[in-house]
Amino acid sequence: MILFRIFREVLRRPLGVLSAGVLIALYTAALLADVLAPYATNEQDLERTYHPPTALVWHDGSLQVQAYELVDPTEAKYAAVVGQSYPLRWWGQGFEYRFLGLFKTQRHLLTIDGAEGRLYLLGSDSTGRDVFSRLLYGARVSLFIGLLGITITTTLGFLVGGLSGYFGGRFDFVAMRCVEFMMAMPGLYLLLALRSALAPHFESDQMFFVIVVILSLIGWAGTARVLRGMTLSIRQHQYVMAAESMGQSPLVILRRHVLPNLVSYLLVAATLSIPGYILGEAALSFLGLGIQEPSASWGLMLSQAQDVKVFYLNFWWLLTPGFAIFVTVIAYNILGDVLRDIVDPKMKTR
């Protein structure tokens, strides 16, 4: 199996192990957000807005959370209360959720003892929500939009590109003019226009799917074009002619004989274009046109950081979603380059 062989090759390169490890960790964290997050996405605390990250101190032989008090409400200044801290509890009780949709539980990895204390690993935002928890829940949207988007795009691109490369003629002509049309449009403009047209017809909790559809509608053209060219050359091979003369239907030939030849290319192309979807969602949500409150996504969280107050009072922890995006994108880019080196050694970048 070719995918298995490629995977084994990835594990033999240090950069491959590193990037794949980072990505696996990120996706696992997103899936287990319920367990890892101390608070729910919308657990507000209006007494503690723009709270800085809480320090962890070693006290009475255990790890404890430093207590803070509000010094200046106008500037959201907090000061540590000397000598007061709340014990951390591993695997304690918190809000109720369904573990992976299977059974109800209240256990969380990290919680805090004492009702008046709050655990803010990465500070709190303008309504006192825990940034760390929202980062984890936001990862679900931001990370899976890439996977879903690339699946739709690749399927669409393969169908259009494969069929037009295989049949040629009139179908090919029409399909390729469509592709050129899509590619001639400035992507971000089209994104904005599509979103303003589609959004009013959907509820705000369906926005996730609207965004996936919009991003995929824009992205399929490039894939289709490359796949058409590759299909054109593959269909000259004798085994395709043999399959044709045996009377196999075009769709079967595409799936059984053409697709296996494209797998390695598709894998590399998909890995390198997933960041595009993540960035697209982030940009849309950042502009207030994507995922809507109260859901969380990295782009949406960053749009909160656009406040003048945030700049002047240095609430740097509100920028962490940007670093999360950066780490994800760089991991995908490195993994993509490693895959390309494996699949096509001639294309080596260095």
Binding site: P186, L198, L287
Partner: protein, 324 residues
């Protein structure tokens, strides 16, 4: 060559027709129109609204509106912006200038930094310098532009070294000519950096790869065998050949700059075409959206054309005319 250019320009016509039609359909799908905020104002008489609606055919289906708009455009009338109370041509003219200035600055900055960096990284391949520059380029490629812009706003607010957005200061109109230039340049620094850093990385990587490819060519061995100094070999023979493929990406860079500036303009509140486009979509300022989409598409086509022409000019092996 001229026939080729004409042919390419002709393809622009169906493209623009198709795109404006698509935008028209999309905007008619969205509820409300540019008159919705006007209707909410009490002091606008109902007869006036009625008159405007019939003038632009707003009560008719979208294809009638489209044909009407198209008729106006052919006569050189791009319509009127409702939000800005200005003819679209004037509005776009102002904004286009600002965006063009920004794009040009980012372009000069990116190319001016990227090419020497790429060449040096290739000459000193596998040195510490090469490794650091390559790693930095990798990081720069992966930072979202708007996040970089956000970081710059943070920097400006914290240090006070740079203005917090805008293209000019408040006292701009009272400055001397030199003062005006300096003021504009000062406001351009952050947007230029935010826009340029991503392209530095990609240009540098291409330059480095090209240079490394060319070093292995046989004419380089010949030049060295003749006893030419390493400096002459590198800069007279290798550089000239390695820069060829970049000439075509010059055109592509040109095409991408106008639409690429959108996010940076919004975050840094730079009054350019991208920001205008974004605001008019939100306000359903239909004619402004149509005009800016047309601008964006034309730039894209011109940029691609420029890329092809430049490539043919710099590389004699490429001929644009069809084989006889």
């Amino acid at each position: 060559m001229i026939a080729f250019i004409l042919r390419r320009l002709l393809t622009l016509i169906p493209l623009l027709l198709g795109i404006t039609m698509l935008v028209f359909i999309l905007m008619s799908l969205a509820p409300g129109d540019f008159l919705t905020p006007v209707k909410a104002q009490r002091d606008v008489p109902a007869e006036l609204i009625q008159a405007i609606e019939t003038e632009f055919g707003l009560d008719r289906p979208w294809y009638v509106q489209y044909v009407k708009w198209l008729g106006n455009v052919v006569q050189g009338n791009l319509g009127h912006s409702w939000a800005y109370k200005l003819p679209v041509v004037d509005l776009i003219g102002q904004r286009l200038w600002a965006t063009f200035l920004l794009s040009l600055a980012a372009f000069v900055f990116a190319w001016g930094v990227a090419i020497p960096l790429g060449v040096l990284a290739a000459i000193y391949k596998d040195s510490i310098f090469d490794r650091i520059v390559s790693a930095l380029a990798y990081a720069a490629l992966s930072v979202p532009e708007f996040f970089l812009a956000l970081l710059f706003v943070f920097l400006a607010a914290q240090t006070g070294w740079f203005p917090l957005g805008g293209a000019t200061s408040i006292e701009y109109d009272y400055l001397s000519f030199a003062g005006k230039c300096a003021d504009r340049a000062y406001h351009l620094i952050l947007p230029t950096l935010a826009l340029g850093i991503g392209s530095i990385a990609s240009i540098m990587r291409i330059m480095r790869a090209n240079f490394l490819d060319t070093i292995r060519a046989e004419f380089v061995t010949t030049a060295r065998a003749k006893g030419l100094s390493e400096f002459v070999v590198m800069f007279k023979h290798v550089l000239r050949n390695a820069i060829n493929p970049l000439v075509s990406s010059f055109g592509f860079a040109f095409s991408g700059l106008l639409s690429g500036a959108l996010m940076v303009e919004i975050v840094l509140q730079y009054p350019g075409l991208g920001q205008l486009m974004y605001q008019s979509i939100l306000r359903e300022d239909q004619f402004v959206v149509l005009a800016s989409v047309m601008m964006g598409c034309s730039m894209l086509v011109f940029g691609n054309l420029l890329a092809d022409v430049l490539l043919a000019w710099s590389d004699p092996r490429i001929r644009l005319e069809k084989k006889k």
